[in-house]
Symmetry: C2
Subunit: 418 residues, 2 copies
């Protein structure tokens, strides 16, 4: 028996790496005043049809449940966000700054950086149309990656503007029903030969490529870049209107984060979707909104690829699964005495382990090293004294059992909290 | 549009309560030297059929995926654990002490304390047949509930012994193919009239009820109770062989945790399943094992029902979503100066929020109170000085912008870390 293709088992070190990424996501989102929420992993399939059209269903883990409901394992969070916000927005002060960490599913061909499940951080600001929200959101995405040890040498935020193109297409007097199609062509242009795009664009080719050749600048985004500059983050962003993002519902700023080396898929992507909540709530609640999503798979690849972030990740993994104190039972008669103190130490928050059954003393010390213990407590002939050993310095001392807790507290206070 | 029946949305306070429970689960499991792992949310349906028989499928969210695979959203973790352990056990020292926190799904009629999804903590010890492992595991389940503020007045661990009954049925010379059926009758006896159970048990009724009437004691479990006593936990447990647990695969100790008032469904349940890993791996890897699962729904009900645990929960929820510093922008010209310092404060780990757009000063102070800020920093006419206000004491002071970071650091060091 094996896991399904595209699904991961998380062995302890993998799980610790996952926890490390989640912890940084959570920590930085909270520094920005974002609060965490979550929705169900299973939703009515119509929620996704409504947002993305019927074709989306081909990419879903969808089925009919035993109550004859059409349901899908969630491929993304935004439709759920729109549903929840439309239902509860009166209970909260605007703007909402919400984040969520959860698992998402797509039935797709597996590729590097793309499985059938992944974890995603979603951060959204709802109820604010000012550029200030765009700046806050993009700054957050940058600071999350910085907290993971990545620098402006490692990644870049490419920012574009949907309105730049809708203004342009209006000028070109292209009928609105063709906009979507042309935006898709522009979106694809970076990934196919110039001639091919030109052919598809027809008479739009010349004006579009003249924009491209000017480096894709959009003056509309200047205040956004200035705002990030005021926070010292200008070096992390490039304005480039050649980025369009395929999704139909974006209305203003769109952005994607890539590794500078250009080796990987996008690390994160997002933008403004001012009409989506209104559309998904059938006009019940209309609110400007913007957000981004960052997945764990490509991010994990980048962290492991860059030396400093990898070191941080590996140190966090080691730290997470190590224990503080290993209790060595040198004489089985002392086991009940040891248990009493193990219980007290654990009650105080220390991570304590010991051999479940009788074992050679040398092997117990070996285990203590393996699990990364800082000290060992030996219960044996010395009782009612306990032999305390600092595994880093090899120093040993005999402490009266009754004084042990204070002595351990002193050790961990001096040499760093647990 | 609504969430599916039996599925929860987690608004920020709900999500914070969920995080609080997860944090205590994680913290206490680690104190016990358990390491975290996880498996996929979607698994081949055969994995569950193999463990629980074909009938289990009636209770699953199961379907055929686009690759024609029969798959199910996981109803429990143990089959995945068996699969993962059988595949990787050589990479780890025995015994394994593993825990996992994840979501599980069952297509069932909704009842109080029983939704169609819930989160579950699973803790398992693999590779140790000695009672010492049973003691360690049950002690862990107790200490988790203690860490949530529950006491021996709030809950009880009812411990029973599968072997007690298999020995008994052997003595009674009941053919083994009937054991399962009789164990189910005993399991149900607490929930139906005595006469009904008697009728079903037939000639076994007298010996079974004579055991019941003696209080359900089993001498075999004495060492287990003594072991918990050595840790000061005897007050939390009752030996009661009337508990059988319906599941066929338990081999030794079984236990369930209930609220003392008997108002709720079981908070947790588990036991020894020494043959299961061998069975699920077709005899490839045979290892003794035991574990328990604790769900978030009934536990959440109990925590909210008891005053001290509720207070702890509510304090943690409040703490999780509150911010440290609210920046008041009294003059819009000062916004860029404020941003520079907001960025530095966030870089140092403080949770900082501010109004995205211009707002009245009084309203900004109101927001600062609402989000639970400890201090406000006001940027206005006083610049290059910043007016710092302690919202608890209402004290105000003017600090030079350049000295602000040190001053804030001092404040948070003195009045408690962020």
């Amino acid at each position: 028996m094996q896991a399904l293709p595209g699904f991961r088992d998380f062995l302890p070190d993998d799980c610790a790496a996952r926890n490390y990424i989640f912890a940084r996501w959570r920590e930085v989102a909270r520094r920005y005043g974002f609060v965490e929420w979550d929705g169900p992993v299973l939703e009515p399939t119509d929620l996704y049809r409504k947002k993305s059209g019927a074709e989306i269903v081909d990419q879903l883990f969808n089925f009919t449940d035993k109550g004859d409901r059409e349901v899908s394992m969630r491929p993304e969070l935004t439709p759920t966000l729109a549903r929840v916000v439309a239902a509860h927005e009166r209970a909260f002060k605007k703007p909402l700054k919400w984040f969520s960490i959860g698992q998402f599913f797509r039935y797709e061909k597996q590729q590097r950086g793309r499985l059938r499940e992944h974890y995603q951080l979603n951060c959204d600001i709802i109820g604010e149309s000012d550029f200030a929200a765009d700046i806050e959101l993009i700054a957050l995405s940058i600071d999350i990656l910085r907290a993971l040890g990545l620098t402006e040498k490692d990644f870049v935020v490419r920012i574009s503007d949907r309105e730049f193109w809708t203004d342009f297409l209006q000028q070109q007097k292209l009928p609105t029903e063709k906009w979507e199609e042309v935006l898709q062509m522009i979106d694809k242009s970076g990934r196919e030969p110039r001639e091919k795009t030109k052919e598809k664009l027809g008479k739009l080719a010349d004006p579009v490529f003249s924009i491209f050749d000017k480096g894709g600048h959009s003056g509309k985004l200047d205040p956004l870049v200035d705002g990030l500059g005021a926070r010292g983050l200008a070096g992390f962003v490039d304005v480039d209107v050649r980025i369009v993002r395929g999704l139909a519902y974006y209305t203003g700023t769109v952005f994607e984060i890539f590794d500078r080396a250009g080796k990987l898929r996008a690390i994160a992507g997002g933008g403004r979707y001012d009409n989506l909540i209104g559309q998904l709530s059938d006009g019940g609640v209309s609110m400007p909104a913007l957000g981004f999503a960052m997945g764990d798979v490509v991010l994990g690849e980048l962290l492991r690829d860059r030396p400093a972030p990898r070191e941080k990740l590996e140190a966090a993994v080691k730290e997470q699964n190590k224990i503080d104190i290993y209790v060595v039972i040198a004489k089985e008669q002392r086991r009940p005495d040891a248990f009493e103190q193990i219980q007290e130490l654990r009650d105080r928050g220390y991570r304590v382990d010991y051999p479940l059954t009788a074992d050679k003393v040398a092997k117990q010390f070996q285990t203590a090293e393996n699990v990364g213990a800082r000290i060992t407590l030996l219960y044996g002939d010395e009782w009612p004294q306990v032999k305390v050993k600092n595994l880093a310095t090899r120093e040993e001392s005999l402490i009266a059992g009754a004084a042990l807790l204070d002595s351990v507290a002193k050790f961990f206070n001096v040499s760093g909290s647990t």
